[in-house]
């Protein structure tokens, strides 16, 4: 694809390249190749391969159902508890995986960063894409559960892509911050597993957020995953769940600002990644 006139480029200290977003587009195939590499490599030399992507969420769902429904006897609002758990498990696992992969992605690919130029944003984004593929695979479990419990979703299911987008943005925003910080301060390597573990308990994964007392709901919505999970339940479970709209809008605002600031911080740091990493 020889351009009619050769591209001109000026490299200077602190110059924000106009070509950055063009470059991102020009390297769009690299998103695909990096994600493809990570997916391919992940299940090489494993006996059951991609089945692992199904087993892990399935087992977690079973444990959560037993603990929260059968032992803790939490209310489900008339929905089969496995579906209630899984509707939340799906975005949560996506968020958790994407976050850990994303925050480590630059370190793992440090040899690329030190030796080749391409827009650095590609690395964390393709890490999130890899987790998204897992998300789609475990989505099949949800379909299986719906068939098993003879559960027919309402029209709201068509809004699911919007909430998926929100989950994507949340994972991306936090992930970009952590990825960029991780290059400078490796301490974040230890902070991320902690966030993921902690987040599982403070997010409404094993239970419905309706059990949170009304006066605390807005505060509770400061956790951006609360909005995402509530949205998923609202879309999948239908009329049996209601959404706390004030909290949901707060989540959207929060996710948007985290994503915007994440991109901003990443862009300002990426010029020195090769020197620091």
């Amino acid at each position: 694809m020889p351009p009619s006139s050769p591209p001109r480029l000026i490299i200077e200290a602190g110059r924000t390249e106009r070509q950055y977003w063009q470059d991102l587009w020009r390297y769009r195939e690299l998103f695909y190749f990096l994600s493809w590499r990570d997916i391919l490599v992940r299940y090489k030399q494993t006996a059951i391969g991609i089945v692992w992507a199904l087993i892990r969420p399935l087992l977690t769902m079973i444990v959560f159902t037993i603990v929260f429904s059968n032992l803790a006897k939490l209310p489900s609002g008339g929905v089969p508890y496995p579906i209630l758990v899984f509707a939340a498990m799906l975005p949560w696992q996506f968020f958790a995986n994407a976050l850990s992969e994303c925050s480590n992605s630059l370190i793992v690919n440090s040899n690329l960063i030190a030796k080749v130029y391409f827009p650095r944003l590609i690395i964390p984004i393709s890490a999130v894409i890899v987790s998204f593929v897992d998300f789609l695979i475990s989505g099949m479990i949800l379909l299986g559960l719906m068939v098993m419990y003879n559960f027919v979703p309402s029209w709201r299911i068509v809004t699911l892509p919007l909430f998926t987008l929100l989950a994507f943005a949340a994972a991306m925003g936090v992930g970009l911050w952590l990825a960029a910080l991780n290059v400078q301060y490796r301490d974040f390597r230890y902070i991320v597993p902690f966030i993921v573990q902690f987040g599982l308990y403070i997010s409404p994964v094993g239970f419905s957020s309706s059990i949170v007392p009304e006066q605390w709901r807005l505060l509770y919505s400061l956790n951006p995953m609360v909005g995402v999970i509530d949205g998923f339940r609202w879309a999948i479970l239908g009329s049996s769940t209601s959404i706390y709209w004030a909290g949901f809008l707060l989540s959207i605002a929060l996710v948007t600002s985290i994503l915007a600031s994440g991109i901003w911080y990443f862009r300002r740091m990426e010029r020195t990644f090769a020197d620091v990493i």
């Binding site: 050769p6 001109r8 480029l9 200077e12 200290a13 195939e29 990096l34 391919l40 301060y185 301490d187």
Partner: protein, 424 residues
Amino acid sequence: MADPVIQVNQLGKKYLLRHQQTQPYIALRDVITNGAKSIARRVLYPRRSHTKPTREEFWALQDVSFDVQPGDRVGIIGRNGAGKSTLLKLLSRITEPTTGQIRLTGRVASLLEVGTGFHPELTGRENIYLNGAILGMSKVEIKRKFDEIVTFAEVEKFLDTPVKHYSSGMYVRLAFAVAAHLEPEILIVDEVLAVGDAAFQKKCLGKMEDVSKSGKTLLFVSHQMGMVSQLCNQALWLEKGKIVQQGEPQSVITAYLKHGFFNQQNSVVRSAAITNQKSIFIAAAKTLNSLGQPATEFGHIEPIYLHIHCVIQQIKADVLIGVAVKDRLGRKVFTSQTAISPHINTFRAKNLVATMAIPANFLTPGQYFFLISLHIPKVEVLDELDEICEFAIADVGSEFSMYEGLDYGCVFANCQWNLDMLQE
């Protein structure tokens, strides 16, 4: 003349060196001890310099300016740490300059390391696609050149084997093959051809010559002077982050090699304690170039002078000074000797200076050192120094430069050849 494709103006790159800290990254603990205020400052303005006693500024490149015309093949030479790799990193946008400006016209591809982004678990086929994409090729482009790449790398049989099972030679061949099929206007290559066997090296050189013949611009870093003089039409000599000389390769390389006196390893000076009881001993020795300057690196077209200083405490008859040149494996290449007794002509003078000249175009490129001895043949060794005054000979464009790095003997022999066609 067309506009330059690369214009570099007052380019500089500063690094902050951290002392007493082994990790290249910053530990959060250090930041926390600096107080919350400085955390905010550091997170928000990480590129502002923080005055800390443990930090030292280091300019890897300073005030570098040059132009490259389209179709030029520029060889960048200099010692380790001269800033060559930093320059390439700036040109290929991997890191940002601290000062100055670079103007590039055309698509740039850089090859700073062979096989960047290769994944050991993936097969050869998969790695070709991955590596191609990383270097900036589109999928269609890779597909079109796939067969050519495979043929060039000679790995047809192992395409579906994970590269972790490849021999290192195959790995390098495949990696270079992908990079060699990039079609940029400007190709930047770091010292990557030093790997691979001779036949493949030659193939790579051929490919790079093709690249430059098709009007593309090549920037090339190498320690192998023969390669630079063979391939390039321009040379750029960097030293401590600055350009020392640029121009026609032969003269730049010769000047670079003459500039050997930074290194004092080439000389030997002996202390009195060891030599007190000796009747005659070698006090010092060093290698000099044709200008009489101490040097350790020579072009193969330069004569080498070994300067020996002897001290005579007691006059003896029939003393010879013998010098053997050994190659890096310790094999003697040749020995030369001369009688010194006839030159000892006065009672007072104690110091004798001997200079031996090794002719130009004689030793082949490589590392050599000396064995010097003072002896009376078949009677007594009066003094001997072995493995001293190491020096290196570099190829500055001999007929054997294509075999650089290989063993084709220790001396250039100017043999007579006679070829005749036999009549049937």
